[in-house]
Every structure is written in structure tokens, then in C-alpha cells.
Amino acid sequence: MLKKLKDKAKELLKNKQVDLFIGYKRAADKISAAPGFITQEEQADSLIWDAYCVYNLASYLMEFPGKKKAIMVKPCDARAIIVLLQENQIKREELFIIGLECSGVIDQKRGLAFDEKCKNCQLPASGLYDLFIEDKNKKDKPAKPDDFDEYESIRKSEAKSLVQRLKFWEEEFSRCIRCYACRQVCPMCYCPKCVAEQTMPAWFSKAAGLNGNFSWNVTRAIHLAGRCVGCGECERACPVGIPLREINKKIEKDIKELFNYETGLNIEQKPLLSSFDKSDPDEWIK
């Protein structure tokens, strides 16, 4: 599998089909993976592919407009590429997408063999990849129990009172240091000037106090409504362990229930917030 990948990378760079290959390389700790940016054929041997390749490399795509890029993606990362294409942020003709069959990635921070997101991984529509590399030694993913409910934690939280929920999130957000790693790592956060950086007017306080922290985290989550692909990078990057995915998952669940919409699974689909349907549950839209 790795050989196939390296050969393809060499071929693409040699034939100048791409200017840049965005993949994974081994990190300095010799265990973890790190994003790798390859422009020379001979560098292709540094590419790796294993359960440490957690990053969603799609978040780098917008850094290189006008360049032809090849990118390694896990099926879950591909959902982010679909949304970026739907939102006209990247050009399909500049991309060579290499899908990799994935047996799930690890959660290094919590020391888990499988990331939470891998328990309910959904493959996007086929046809997106220019090349899909299958894994002959594919390991079985953790079995999905019949009664698996991906929104179990959300339902539990919904059952709580508003006051209890507020208390929970106040406690979580009190730790936010406003490093904006959640924003920077997110493939969907690409505003040229983030609302958090605007000063005229300043929409919310720069102070890392509860008011500003609440405004920031809620604004971020709402801006991702119908756009979040659930890659979980925000939560993985958060140095203080705020369960950021839970907020986006709640929105994801609502959208699924209200509009039967799932993000980033079908390239033909219109973005949720720019589509109109007479069967929308709200009366006013008719």
C-alpha cells in the first residue's frame, strides 16, 4: 500500500502533474505523524501511512491557490474536500485526490486505540478520488454494535435542564485560552478575517474571560452549522481538552433531523444554507 502511494507521488511529481504533494511524514518523536509537503520526487520516500495519520490535511489546501496539489485523504477527510468544493474555495482541476483505505486512527491524547470518530465512520460518495488505494492488510475496525447511537452523548445532554447544560459549558469554556487552535486546524474555517479578529466593531471581548470565551466558542460552532464534517480536529487540537465536537454534533444532529441533510457526503448536493426546499419545516419559508 505504502509502495503504491510512494510510486504514485514520484510519478505525479516527475511528470509535473502536480507541483506539491501534501501527505504525512514521520514526526520528530519518531512515532507520531506530521504533515509533510513534498515538491521533489526523491522526497516521496519520506511518506508514511498508518494509524498515526490523524490530521485532516484538507485544511492546508487553501494555502496554495493556483498550484497543482496532490493530497492524501482518509475517507473522513474527503468530506471536508467536498464541502470546500461545494463552497467554491478550491478548484477541482488543481487537485489530485488520493484516498486511502483506513482502519481507524488512534487518539494519542487520550491514549485510545481508536478515535471516537472512527466508531461511526462514513465513506463519502465514490468518484471523488483520482486514486483510491486499498489496504490489503486492513484491520477490522471496532465492531459497531447494533444499537450504536452516534448521538448518545447528545441525547444525554439534551435530557438535562438548560441550567445544567449552561453550567457544564461554562465550566468547559472557563478553561479556554483563546489560542484559536480550533479555528486554525478546521478545514472549514477559512474566513479571510475571522469575527474574533475584527476590532471595528469588536464583536466580543478579547479577554480570555467567560463572556468572551462563550461568545467565541458558540460563534464558531454556529458558523459551522451544516458545514462541519465531524473530522474532530478542533477537539484534538484543543490543548485544554474542551469537548468541542459535542457542540458541533448537536448541530449536526438537529440538521439531520430537521432537513435530512448530512454534510460532505455528496458532491452534487448544495450547501445546506444556500439551498431552498418547500418542504422545510418552518412555515415562513413558503
Binding site: A27, D29, I177, C179, A181, K206, A207, V240
Partner: protein, 318 residues
């Protein structure tokens, strides 16, 4: 002065200090890791191997504070227990900035009202590299007193007057053989460090090198490395509801050097990441004679894309 006492005696002492001081120390928060938190009961205080996610810098250089005279925090006495030696060294470096030629009243107030009781490292992980930068797991610089974990006992080295007032007559002085044992154990601690790198002398001549582009390629431009650094101290001044707010800022942010005209002298990650490395291993040394890094490894541990500053400086093409 060096004294020895049973751990239970120390625990009792901590409880007795709760009345006089606001006691702060490492506390385990769920699966999030260790955080410096106010300690209300002895069970909260974690004095074991490991390192907190955030450094104790935040108690001296407050992440967000209003610089109005009316907002000077209540001058209660604070006691930080369980700080790692590398962090206390970090505070010594911050002193050079905020309590030397320029006196920062807020910082100095916080320093004066705080007593720091450290704990010699029990373990080091693969990211620690303090010994490469002149540190040591038993370093007492910046400490008022430093505890040393020795089976059922703590040996404490009392460094300052504040430390001496705090420990008073707790425990007893070490006898000759106890002192020998302690010194032997202490000497072993250096061996905890698995990583040893050579810090560069100066970097000026490789300022324009493409190396900086290469090492910063994966950088996300988030503020983790700077906010979690025990020595990074850049801040921003903003008007917040008609008050002047000082809050942390980061050279990794794209708008850090953005000028009103729209010009940005550090337009890409290359210039921004290079700035971080140069500030730590070149400019600060020129200005204050030391590297602005204590090798705690926080920026490496928490970097979402595994950028490793120890390797960046070790492999710099000097």
C-alpha cells in the same frame, strides 16, 4: 537550609496554609490532564510525575487583565505548591523583562504576593529537554523552597526568606547519612532526561535560510505554543468597554504584526515561526544573556501538528 519530614506532616502543613494563603497547585481534571487550580482540600493537590498543560506564568503575567488602578487584584497572599523547576526558571526569565529596567507594577505585585514551593521532577518524558538549556530537574532558581520526593518523606531545600517563613520548624534538619542519601538521589535526577540537544550560539547568519520555510510548513498559526510557553510574554493592549485590557498575544497569529496600512512585515508562517525561534534563541540572548526557553516541552506536547522546537534548533543549518 535543608529539612526532612514525613509526607503526612507536609499534607497537614498544606491544610494549615489554606487559611493564610490562596493555595494553588497541580490538579488532575478528568481526562484533560494536569492544571494549576486553587486547592481547597489536600485530595485536589497532585504531587506526582507529570507536567501541567498550562504553565504557572498565568499567575504572574495574567492572560487578560485590565490595567486600571481600580482593577488591581486583591492583594491576598498566594502559595503555589508543586511547580516544576523548569517553570520557576521561566519566571526568572520573565523577571528580566518585567522587573528590571522597566518595572511592571502588576507583574511585580503578583511576584511579591506569591510563594513558590516547587517539586523536583519525579519523571521526565520524551519531550523534556531542560538539561540542554542549563536547567536541571532539581534546579532551585526561582523557587522559595524546593521539595524532593524521597519515598515516605519530602526533603525540602529552603532558598528564600519567604520559604523559611513558610516551613518554619516543620520536620528536622538532615543528619549526615540522610544528607548523603538525598545528594545521591538528587544526582541521579539528571539521568531522567532522555533528550539532549545543542542550543545554537546565534542564528543571525541563517535568517534568510529556506530552512524556516521548511520547518514552518505545517504550522497552523494557532497560539498554543506561545500561550502554553512558560517564557513567551508578548501581549496586546486593547480597548475593552472603555477599559484598557492587556491580554496575551502570539507571534504565530497572522495579525500580530499587521499594520494599520495593511502592510504586514511578517506575511507568512516562515517569518512568524522564525520570529519565535529567533526571539528565544537569539534576540533574548543578545538582550539578556540567556535563551528564552527552559526546555519544558509544552509547545512540543501540545502542538497539533507535532512541530518540535528542540529538533528545529538542533537541526538548524548553522
Amino acid at each position: 537550609m535543608i529539612r526532612i519530614f514525613k509526607k503526612e506532616e507536609f499534607n497537614k502543613a498544606v491544610v494549615s496554609w489554606l487559611g493564610e494563603f490562596q493555595v494553588i497547585g497541580p490538579k488532575r481534571i478528568g481526562n484533560k490532564g494536569l492544571f494549576y487550580e486553587p486547592i481547597e482540600a489536600m485530595e485536589d493537590l497532585y504531587l506526582g510525575p507529570g507536567i501541567t498543560v498550562e504553565p504557572m506564568k498565568k499567575f504572574f503575567l495574567i492572560p487578560s487583565e485590565y490595567l486600571n488602578s481600580s482593577s488591581v487584584p486583591e492583594k491576598n497572599k498566594r502559595l503555589i505548591v508543586g511547580a516544576n523547576p523548569c517553570e520557576a526558571r521561566g519566571i526568572c526569565l520573565l523577571d528580566k523583562v518585567f522587573d528590571s529596567e522597566y518595572k511592571d507594577k502588576f507583574y511585580i505585585d503578583n511576584r511579591q504576593r506569591t510563594t513558590i514551593v516547587g517539586l523536583s521532577c519525579i519523571a521526565a518524558d520524551e519531550h523534556c529537554f531542560c538539561t540542554s538549556l542549563g536547567g536541571d530537574p532539581t534546579d532551585t532558581r526561582g523557587m522559595d523552597a524546593l521539595l524532593f520526593d524521597q519515598q515516605d518523606n519530602f526533603v525540602v531545600e529552603i532558598i528564600t526568606e519567604k520559604g523559611s517563613q513558610l516551613f518554619g520548624a516543620l520536620g528536622k534538619e538532615l543528619e549526615a547519612d540522610e544528607k548523603k542519601e538525598w545528594q545521591k538521589n538528587k544526582a541521579k535526577k539528571k539521568g531522567l532526561l532522555k533528550k539532549k540537544i545543542n542550543a545554537p550560539g546565534s542564528l543571525g547568519h541563517i535568517f534568510e535560510n529556506e530552512y524556516w520555510k521548511e520547518v514552518s510548513a505545517g504550522c497552523l498559526s494557532c497560539g498554543i505554543c506561545t500561550y502554553l510557553c512558560p517564557t513567551c510574554h508578548c501581549f496586546d493592549l486593547v480597548d475593552d468597554e472603555r477599559k484598557k485590557l492587556r491580554c496575551y498575544d502570539s507571534c504565530a497569529f497572522s495579525d500580530f504584526t499587521l499594520e494599520t496600512s495593511g502592510h504586514n512585515p511578517r506575511p507568512t508562517k516562515k517569518e512568524r515561526y522564525r520570529q519565535r525561534v529567533f526571539h528565544k534563541f537569539d534576540y533574548f540572548k543578545t538582550n539578556f544573556g540567556e535563551n528564552l526557553c527552559v526546555g519544558c516541552g509544552r509547545c512540543i506536547r501540545s502542538c497539533p501538528v507535532k512541530i518540535d522546537i528542540s529538533q528545529v534548533i538542533a537541526n538548524a543549518p548553522i
